[in-house]
Subunit: 468 residues, 2 copies
């Protein structure tokens, strides 16, 4: 891998006796190979890499705690790393230091089908988790697209296509094991489905992006695999009609499992990429879960709502094969639109607004980008009011990068002005820290800072993330 | 009201110039009447009253902030009060000081049916809220039984009978306005259904019982009133069969809206109290929400599961009148079992365990109380693994009080040993602070204490609550 460009900081090698001491804490599992350091500091984002100075690969919570105590003694920054699928520079070692790579903490600790929950180490990925429980009749629904680790998903409060039905990581994490900056190990909660016993430590760490501690174990809720699943695609004359149909579906209380919006540019890209022939027009992708009669009823009612909003060609996919082809098209979106332009990369952003503001917010985003010299596409988990803009830019063109950044910035502020958030699911990292004061206000930011300072007084844990 | 006994602290009158200054901050709305003070320090609990020294009745968030700044300057403890329906001494002014009674902050700020959310002042009660939105086709589901205020419900992370379907306050609060101990006013979040933008300040205050700030406004999710509702009661030969049926109903993914367990003692009490003729045997009360065909299907499947667990007499209540009579019986439970013994009061406790541990935990609670000289009944929101024990004691009998306390204490610890919590929905107050270390461990308690100290360094906000 060529790591000579796209690197925004120079590596400072640890003195060899310190590196040796660190290695001793984790059974010798460290790396200082430049390509390894590059990857850890990069993620899947459009930001340059800020490589850490050294990577260690602990295999137990106690090893993580030992590394944390070491980092504290030496006052070295410490950044946790899972699968590296984050999008806003979450794993960038802005101030260097130690990357704690949790990929070797990939064991399933305990699965309890009778309680519909599972405890895994932080480095287990969602696909690995679902493969493990394949025979239990249960599944873990949170699906951010990438095969992220559970620790990473908890840290960014991830969600995805079916959060509208099953919730995000906020709702699905029951408990966490966390190593705090002082080296102590906290279990944030028991496994009861509800509790009124004290501060919600679980939710303190869900979404904290490793700035308050390192998550080493995650206990999540599981859900029953639905007896029946159906899916459908429907085309609309314009984005507003499609989004309005989605909103009405939610407002009517149809317990839709997924309702995804893809604009005309995206549909054309998907057709080309996967050799399909969907109408080149804004579309909604639906999925319904339940009993056979219930999914039929849900689909019928959603179909009526779509028709009432000038939807056409409500195309059913009742068999697993058809359904999987349909959703493959949706899942290919990212690569399909990237393929619109050879050599291009995607500058992506996501916002989330109260659902009634969604048509206005999408219209703003599309109009604002209308004159952009690069392809632009919008895609949304619209049942939650959440959508993504993808700016398909030439990564070597500074003007295009600057324009994409400006468009994303204007969109973030517009979403905030509509009572929404600058990020529904990507997280803040350092890429979106600039929005935080506008979104939360000075008093809330001061409170977040107070929490950060009291738990991590030396500012060693993923420094310069989240807070502006 | 006779306030001479059942009072555990003596009132210290504020110097008159301070009382006058406080009155000036809230338009003269203060009280020092002993009966008012008694009620504020009592709640609906079995603990004695710890009256505050003075009560003020702010009408705006700014007035609350002014009172907080005053309290801080004078280093006076400050305890928020809503409807006074808490059960573990949450509103007891253990160290005296100012009671901030939020009952005059009872306005609906904004209702947005199109976004299915509503913002109310903290003193609005749940019945008032639901009356206000009666014509929107929406409702607010969280129902702890008592007509609590939204601020109080958020503060204790309340839930109730239909949390199994609609979630607790943890899942239903979108945003809070909170006055912090430093007098600043924080809005914890925007109204987007999901967000990854920073620390989850909302969940920091949900369940914090007024120890970190005073909630003055609450924004909650609303849900569509289901098109169809049906209910049923089913009797079982023993508690274990009933609870197993409830567990299987959940495990099968039937989206039951309510599934409540009442033991034989409770059913007999309800029969007597409301002149009904249900079989005197452990029972499950079900409620199903959905489309007409979906509720029929749910009820059918739940009925089959009940039959498979030796349930009998699955009694339908399809009409609103029958349903309301059925649920009235369930709602009368508290008064019905109190009526088993003239002059008695209920010492109540609640625990919550992973659902598979529920039969064992209920069996423990019943066996442990088998020799008690007073009536004992158990009742549960069993779909969540949550149940209540009611010890029907003579409040003047110190031995009975001591025995009830001992039984509750043993049950709390047993629930914790099963991976559960000492309280699923009542909260900690000061009554359950003794369980906190056993439940959470030293490191988690130290973290909670750190949060408390950093946000409320003078320990003025509801002091000596939650933390041991």
């Amino acid at each position: 891998m060529d790591v000579t460009h796209d690197v925004a900081r120079s590596i400072t090698a640890l003195p060899s006796e310190l590196a040796a001491e660190l290695a001793g804490l984790v059974g010798g599992r460290i790396s200082t190979a430049p390509s390894d350091l590059y990857v850890r500091g990069k993620g899947e984002c459009y930001h340059p890499s800020f490589p850490p100075d050294i990577i260690c690969f602990p295999e137990t919570t106690d090893e993580v705690a030992a590394v944390v105590r070491f980092a504290r003694r030496e006052q070295l920054p410490i950044v946790a790393f899972g699968a590296g699928t984050s999008l806003e520079g979450h794993t960038a070692a802005l101030k260097g230091g130690i990357c704690v790579d949790l990929s070797r903490m990939n064991r399933v600790v305990d699965v309890r089908p009778e309680d519909m929950d599972i405890t895994v180490e932080a480095g287990v990925t969602r696909k690995q988790l679902n493969a493990y429980i394949r025979d239990t009749g249960l599944f873990f629904p949170v699906d951010p697209g990438a095969d992220a680790t559970l620790g990473g998903m908890a840290s960014t409060r991830a969600s995805g296509t079916n959060a509208v039905r099953y919730g995000t990581m906020r709702e699905n994490v029951l408990s966490l094991t966390v190593v705090l900056p002082d080296g102590s190990i906290v279990k944030t909660a028991n496994r009861a489905r509800k509790s009124s016993a004290g501060y919600d430590l679980t939710r303190l760490f869900v979404g904290a992006e490793g700035t308050l501690g390192i998550i080493t174990e995650v206990t999540v809720k599981l859900h029953g695999i639905p007896e029946a699943v159906t899916a459908a695609v429907c085309s609309f004359p314009d984005a507003a009609s499609a989004v309005t149909a989605a909103i009405e579906t939610i407002q009517c209380g149809i317990p839709v499992a997924r309702v995804e919006f893809v604009d005309a540019v995206g549909m054309e890209a998907v057709n080309r990429f996967a050799n399909l022939d969907y109408p080149v027009a804004p579309a909604l992708f639906f999925e319904f879960h339940g009993s056979p009669s219930s999914v039929e009823e849900q689909a019928e009612r959603a179909g009526e709502i779509a028709l009432g909003n000038d939807g056409s060609g409500f195309a059913w996919a009742a068999t697993p094969e058809e359904r999987s082809r349909l959703w493959q098209a949706r899942h290919d979106f990212h690569y399909a639109i990237m393929a619109l332009r050879p050599g291009a990369r995607i500058w992506g952003t996501d916002v989330c607004v109260p659902i009634s503001k969604l048509p206005e917010c999408i219209a703003f985003a599309q109009a604002d980008a209308a004159l952009a010299p690069f392809p632009v596409s919008s895609l949304g988990h619209v049942g939650d009011g959440n959508f993504h803009m993808s700016y398909v830019i030439d990564p070597e063109d500074a003007d295009e990068r600057a324009m994409a950044e400006r468009l994303a910035e204007r969109l973030g502020h517009h979403a905030i002005s509509l009572g929404g958030t600058c990020t529904g699911e990507h997280g803040v990292g350092y890429g979106k820290a600039k929005f935080m004061t506008a979104e939360h206000g000075d008093a809330a930011i001061a409170l977040m800072r107070l929490i950060k300072q009291s738990i991590d007084p030396d500012d060693l844990f993923n420094p310069s993330k989240i807070l502006p």
